[in-house]
Each structure stands twice: as structure tokens, then as C-alpha cells.
């Protein structure tokens, strides 16, 4: 998909839980090769929007298009395979798998996942393993955690776990990365490292949809910002355009920087 075209499109999406309207009539686009941020106070519906996009929740109304094809109604693993990779707000890893296995579990299209191929795969399977291992090694090296490749994920430090969860996203080869507060809890140095990584990813052709509370990071990093409130979109635009509203938003939405 060429840069600038709409990679993801939400059309009049709604979702309620009992009496609570978590997302209402939400429409927006994420253009390929950009960092697009979703901002808004707690309960604005940002994480629910993520859950709708990934298929973890089914919308009550509206549609979601990815690369022009509808993905609403697909189960999560099919959405993932279609090219949407999702990170969680809370750190989520396969704690009892090694760092390497965490990465390799996310690498798509492996024949070894098929029970018949796994049993009679032979040489092709060995080759596939070599390719998979080379790929996980490269990712771990890039994330600077190669030395911990064989450690259980739960034994890594918090910063290393954050890096590993980013690595797992990259391993899915998803074109669109949904990041939910990727820098929360990180030291200032690591926040900078993460921002640089995100920029490098879009330079390399990936697209990022970001939920982030840190307004400074959002303003610096985003190509496009969507402001949510009570489940709906109340404004969108380039950082400068949204910044014009930012004082209002501080009081109105309670966004803290």
C-alpha cells in the first residue's frame, strides 16, 4: 500500500456494554506509513476501539476496513494474520516461554504449526526452523536483548520486557501496529529509544496507531491526531492544529502531560 493511502478505515463504529456506550459512531482513517495517535481521557473509548479493530470485541454497528477489505467479524487470529499487530497496555508476554520463543511464536506462516506437516515435514521443516531462528536472532539483536534470548520472559527486567513485547509485534510482520501506551513506566532514556524506534518503523514502511497519555510524545511523534471523548471523535488533525485546542483539552478532557 502506497504511503498516504488509507490503510485502516473505521466507519460509524459503535459498541456498548449494557447501558454504557463505550464507542459511538466512531469514524476515522489511518493512512499508510504514518503515526496516528488516539488521545482522550480515561474511558474515552480508546482501548475499546483497539479491541474492536483486533476482533476481540464485535461492534454493535459499523464496519472496519483494512487494505480495503472488511475485517469486522473476523476472529482475532485472522485479524492478526491479515496484518494488524496489537500491543497491550499492561505488559503481556508468554511469561513461561523464553524470550526467543516469545518472538518465534509470533512469526507467521510456519508450516510446523500444522500437525501433519509437523510430523512428516522433514527437510523443509528444518529449513523453516533455520529461517525462523535467523529472524528471531536479528530481532533480538536489534532490540539489544540478544544476550537474554534463552531466558524465561518473566526473568527479564521491565525495560527488557517492554522491548520484547515490541519485538513480538514486529515478528508478526503486521503492516499496522496498534500500540497501547508503549512508553508507560519507562525511564526517560528508554522513552527516547522507543520514540526513535517508532519513527524508524514508519520510515521502513510500517504504520502505527498509537494510544498515548504523554501529550509531549504525542505532539512530537504523530503525523495525525484523533481526539476521543465519551466514545466519539471530537476533533482530529495535524499536531499543530490539535495543539491549538490543547489548552481547552487540558481542562475539558483532563489529559495530563
Amino acid at each position: 500500500m502506497a504511503a498516504g493511502e488509507a490503510l485502516l478505515r473505521l466507519e460509524a463504529l459503535s459498541k456498548s456494554f449494557g447501558g454504557l456506550q463505550a464507542v459511538s459512531d466512531l469514524s476515522f482513517e489511518v493512512r499508510a506509513g504514518t503515526i496516528t495517535s488516539l488521545i482522550g481521557g480515561n474511558g474515552a473509548g480508546k482501548t475499546t476501539a483497539f479491541n474492536l479493530i483486533t476482533g476481540n470485541l464485535a461492534p454493535d454497528a459499523g464496519h472496519i476496513y483494512f487494505r480495503g477489505a472488511r475485517v469486522d467479524g473476523l476472529p482475532p487470529h485472522k485479524v492478526a494474520r491479515a496484518g494488524i499487530a496489537r500491543g497491550f497496555q499492561e505488559l503481556r508476554l508468554f511469561n513461561r516461554l523464553s524470550a526467543r520463543d516469545n518472538i518465534e511464536a509470533a512469526i507467521p506462516g510456519q508450516q510446523g504449526e500444522n500437525i501433519v506437516r509437523a510430523l512428516i515435514g522433514g527437510h523443509a521443516l528444518t529449513e523453516e526452523r533455520d529461517v525462523t531462528q535467523a529472524r528471531s536472532s536479528a530481532l533480538l539483536r536489534d532490540l539489544t536483548i540478544e544476550a537474554h534470548a534463552e531466558s524465561l520472559a518473566e526473568r527479564l527486567s521491565y525495560g527488557q520486557q517492554k522491548l520484547l513485547s515490541l519485538g513480538r509485534l514486529l515478528a508478526t510482520e503486521g503492516e499496522l501496529l496498534l500500540l497501547d501506551e508503549p512508553t508507560s513506566g519507562l525511564s526517560p532514556g528508554m522513552v527516547e529509544d522507543f520514540c526513535a524506534r517508532m519513527r524508524r518503523l514508519t520510515d521502513a514502511g510500517r504504520t502505527i496507531l498509537l494510544i498515548e497519555h504523554n501529550v509531549e510524545i504525542v505532539m512530537r511523534l504523530s503525523d495525525w491526531i484523533i481526539v476521543m471523548h465519551q466514545g466519539g471523535k471530537i476533533a482530529e488533525g495535524k499536531p499543530d492544529e490539535v495543539r491549538g485546542n490543547v489548552v481547552v483539552m487540558h481542562t475539558y478532557l483532563g489529559i495530563s502531560s
Binding site: H77, A80, A85, D101, N102, G112, E113, I115, E128
Partner: protein, 295 residues
Amino acid sequence: MSVLAQFAVNGIVAGSVYALIALGFALIFTASRVFHFAHGGVYTFSAFAGYTALVTLKLGIVAGFLAAIIVAALIGLIINILLYEPMKAGGVSPFVAMISSFGVLIIITHVTAMIWGSNPVVLSPGGQTTVYHFGSIYTTDAQLLIIGFAAVLAIALWIFFRHMRLGIAIRAMGNDSELAEVVGMPARRLRNISFIVGSGLVGISAMLIGLNVGIIDFNMGMDIILMATVAMIIGGLGNVGAAAGGGFVLGMIQNIAIWKIESKWQMALSFAILIVVLLFKPSGLFGEKRPATGL
């Protein structure tokens, strides 16, 4: 001394049996987080399926094993599709799934009795049992078969879980099934595969034990599933290798204890071991260092 050595050999055989059953039980637990008590029913039913092929239809020992494996795998798969998956989708707690599983164990046990009767039947390939002497120690061909199968399957499963894509995927799913789906794993299909493989293993175990003891009856799954549960907990929950280790230790202790303690205390002894292990090493003998709360 030779008496103790004989008990030790019996212990290795019993330990291998428990290890085999616990392997399948733990594989299913790892993938689905369900305490699959109905596994005991699958064990019983598959033994009788093997009996029908081997004794009633006289199709030979290989057909007997195949019948047991295929029937076990099918029943396991059906239980997952009709019972556990709908419960999982409906957000039912693992505790309710466990009680339901116990219900299925009782149903299968009674269906077995309805089909094959409530009297024990002889499971034998016919002909003479070969007895081997090693000094003063006796062992039979069925016992050697058990030890061989257990060793080969334990190694194969270790390689499967540590080094094969499918095994790593199943461990990942047991760790966090929602996350597994988000990274693109077909969680449902992987759980089905675990039920097929885990149940197939219990089909093998059922035939091995049936041939070793020589008789099978409709109630045989009850005790064995209790022992598999004890084995899995003393070994370490959620870890297939640890469960097999737990099974082996349990079988050894039970049989060596016969040297000094009457055999009618075997069941009580097993639970005493369980309590002692839980008191002093709650994560199990071979489990990771964390309390056994991974339900």
C-alpha cells in the same frame, strides 16, 4: 535385598504407567487449562475398544492399539468441541468445567458398562506371556513394553514441546490464550490438537496397563485419573515433563513402600505424599518456583 529390587522394578513399571497417563493429562491441561477428569473415562472406553479389536474380533495386537488410540483421540476431541469450547466461549470458570468433566467421567464409565457389561474381561493377545529373569528379578514382556513406550514418548514429547513449532505454540497458548490469538495463533485448533494427542496417549496407556494386568473393567478409569491428578500436582502444574516426573516418583514410592506397608494403604499413601509435597514445595517437585495457582 532381591525383594526390594523386585519392588523397584515394579515401581519403574507403575511409575512409567502413571507418567504416561499424566503426560496426556498435563498436555491437555497445559493447552486448555481444564482439569480434564473425563480423561479417566476416555482411558476406560479406549481399553474396551482395544479389547473389541484384539479379543472379540481377533484383529491382532497392532489393531488393538490402533483401535484404542483412534477411539480415545476421537472421544477426547468430541468432549473438547461439545463441552469445553462452548464453556470457554461462554466465560464459564475452570472450576465449573472441572465439575462438568467429572460428570462426563461418570457418564462414560456407565456407558462402558452398558456396552461391555459390568464384569471384568480378560485382555490378552492370546498365547503365553513371556517372563524374563534378570538374576532373581522377574519381568514380563508387557512390563518391558510399558517401560519402553514411556521412555520413548517422554523423550518425543520433550522434543515436541521444546523444539517444535507446534509444541511451542501449545505452550504459548497454555500461558495466555488471548495473547496467543492476538499474535495470530489459531487457539481453538491448537486446543483440539492437544486433545487429540493427549487422548491418543491415554489410549496407548490403557492398552499397556490392560495387557500388563491382564483384565480390564468399566471402573478402571476412576483410580487412574486420581493418580494422574496427584502425579501432575506433585510434579508441578502446567508443565508436562514435571507431570511425567511426578507420575514416575509416585509409582516408585507406592511400590517400594509395599516392602514395609500393606498394599491396601497405597491410595492413602499417595495422598499423603501429595499433602507433604504441597506443604513443603507448593510448586511441585519439578515445577517452576511459583505456587501452583496457574488455573
